[in-house]
Symmetry: C2
Amino acid sequence: MPVKNVFYAQSGGVTSVINASACGVIEAARANNRIGTVYAGLDGILGALNENLIDTSLESDEAIAALKHTPGGAFGTCRYKLKTIEENQKEYERLIEVFSAHNIGYFLYNGGGDSQDTAYKVSQMGKKMNYPLTCIGIPKTVDNDLPHTDCCPGFGSAAKYLATSIREAGMDLDSMSTTSTKVFILEVMGRHAGWMAAATGLAAEKESMPPHIILFPEIALDEKRFLSKVKNCVEKHGSCAIVVSEGLKDKEGNFLADSGLRDAFGHAQLGGVAPVIAQIIKRELGYKFHYAISDYLQRSARHIASQVDVDQAYDLGRMAVEKALSGVNNKMLTIERTNANPYQWEIGTVDLSKVAAVETKVPTEYITEDGFHITGSCRDYLLPLIQGEAYPPFKDGLPNYVNLQNHLVEKKLKKFEIA
Amino acid sequence: MPVKNVFYAQSGGVTSVINASACGVIEAARANNRIGTVYAGLDGILGALNENLIDTSLESDEAIAALKHTPGGAFGTCRYKLKTIEENQKEYERLIEVFSAHNIGYFLYNGGGDSQDTAYKVSQMGKKMNYPLTCIGIPKTVDNDLPHTDCCPGFGSAAKYLATSIREAGMDLDSMSTTSTKVFILEVMGRHAGWMAAATGLAAEKESMPPHIILFPEIALDEKRFLSKVKNCVEKHGSCAIVVSEGLKDKEGNFLADSGLRDAFGHAQLGGVAPVIAQIIKRELGYKFHYAISDYLQRSARHIASQVDVDQAYDLGRMAVEKALSGVNNKMLTIERTNANPYQWEIGTVDLSKVAAVETKVPTEYITEDGFHITGSCRDYLLPLIQGEAYPPFKDGLPNYVNLQNHLVEKKLKKFEIA
């Protein structure tokens, strides 16, 4: 088999461990003489369309190894959806033109649901347009909403960060509650699936421990029952620590975050959901509140990454190369839980066609009957994913992350106009 | 000298290392037979007024040692201001009654500016009302705004957390900026003094590194110059990471966070300042944005505490006991920087009368001429304070913090009605 090069790219929202997958891909490729250079797409699939290929062979072994502890997406990422071949054949012809010009035989795409859809479309292209291309999807998403995998790299670290944060902020709140703040609200990501909200429940080892209430996007807010729960909690424990998912909806299916607030010009205020919940509590119960919105912090907090998560992300990258060389094609790699306790896992595969645009929500049996917390089975599922502390190295008091040089390969083709 | 007991209490907003000071106090007292029991006030000075004294002698050595790595205030805190003796003599008579009933000869009060004012008033009481009481203030505040001390325990850890967070979130932003978010805003605490905002500047080791812009409460927002800076930054670096202090004001001296937004009922929306800045940028420059509000997270993030900060907090607690025994009275302990590089410090003292209600802001020479970043001398001052990683122990993937039993001493007095 002739030696072919690899196109690897990162897509969608990044995580604190997606670069660990990149590290796995590049290290595995460097260790194997049956494979050529790993070209990384600058800004995901756009790097292929624009022929912006980063030559990773120009980076030192040390720099590549440092990717394992560096958050963000080292090669840039994109939110760009390929149309179908029927809708925009030119784009696919361009991809083949670029791959062909640079002797690319492997397409490794690292992303979440939308990105696996891209990987699927590219795999279809290979078949339909008769270009020999091995396509492998490497999963990644803090949302943990990909199907057919035990979990998604990036989620475990975000989960560890958020559960730690609500434990810490809850202790702060508890100290203050006699004369000051009685309610603290932490807003977490997850527009449709409440996995990150659920993960914070791990911090509540006892009913008295924060978070006391979790508001899931899967459960419409019942304001009356919620307020009653908050009141009971403050009366019983002195304070109430709440986690709310950004995607929380009311009974009519509207996002709470679309608060109806208008500025002097009548423009809608696109606020977070935490202040909306805070105002409801203030108005109805009068409690003093504080709230935090962790936003990008939760998906970039590499300083408190889960060792299990880092290991899985790295191994998925490494195995993407090995599977590709062994003939696996048109698959997304998965994590298979082979044993519950102690947690054991191995890497499996699933057809890309079965993954594209399917979203896994938090199932009913993982949410307590009252809708405000996680069940024991949810805890059993989540707990292994946050184990181990994979601290990055520090320099001068701060994490020492790598910035690659990202040299682009010389272009061989004319400029392509993206429609 | 007869053996007397200690009243120790925590006051005001807590930090991730105030319990390290408590640990220092209790461990030093346990090691010295010239001192009796440490009674901790339940919720600060209220614990004295209400005769709610926690008997710390009932806690194991292990539990006390664990305070060193536990955030929040283990005995509860309060926001409660004592009036002057002239205004409310009854309150002071009550304090003496309680201290006398429990053989208390040492008053160790752990807090920020307002709390040192309380310590000062109590020290005045001792003199005026002829009750022998040794009063020592132990500094603490994430705001770093106490005078006559090199820094304030709690600040270094918040600084380390925030500088780490903007570095991480900035890398996330940078990955996304070609097709998505171009501006990220992190809101930090500091209503009057911009020390925490300044600390994030440590992450920008080069001009290209985040944060690109810092908005201090000391500098009124010049919207036009700010927007021009944001635009230049995005055009030069592809994205712009901004840190804004909650206390940012406009040229008329109004808080930006009072955004003028009204809900359907005409109620003011008490939002953060980050969304206000975000909306200004969106309206004028059209950039997609994200923002985070770290709120309590920044002052409770014990999982990434600074070792220097923990050491100082612990030693201040320990030295409070030793100084009290050696006859020091009516003083707040301070950190004195005895050498700049390498950083060396020792513990000094200052009259409580010189500390009460004085606030130290970020000086002009620590802010760059354009008002948007920190100078080299600011960096030299700040850098030693975030050195070393004092990780807490973890259990089951989460920090293992201690919850004390907090048994109250049996009351000897009648109930007191706080006015």
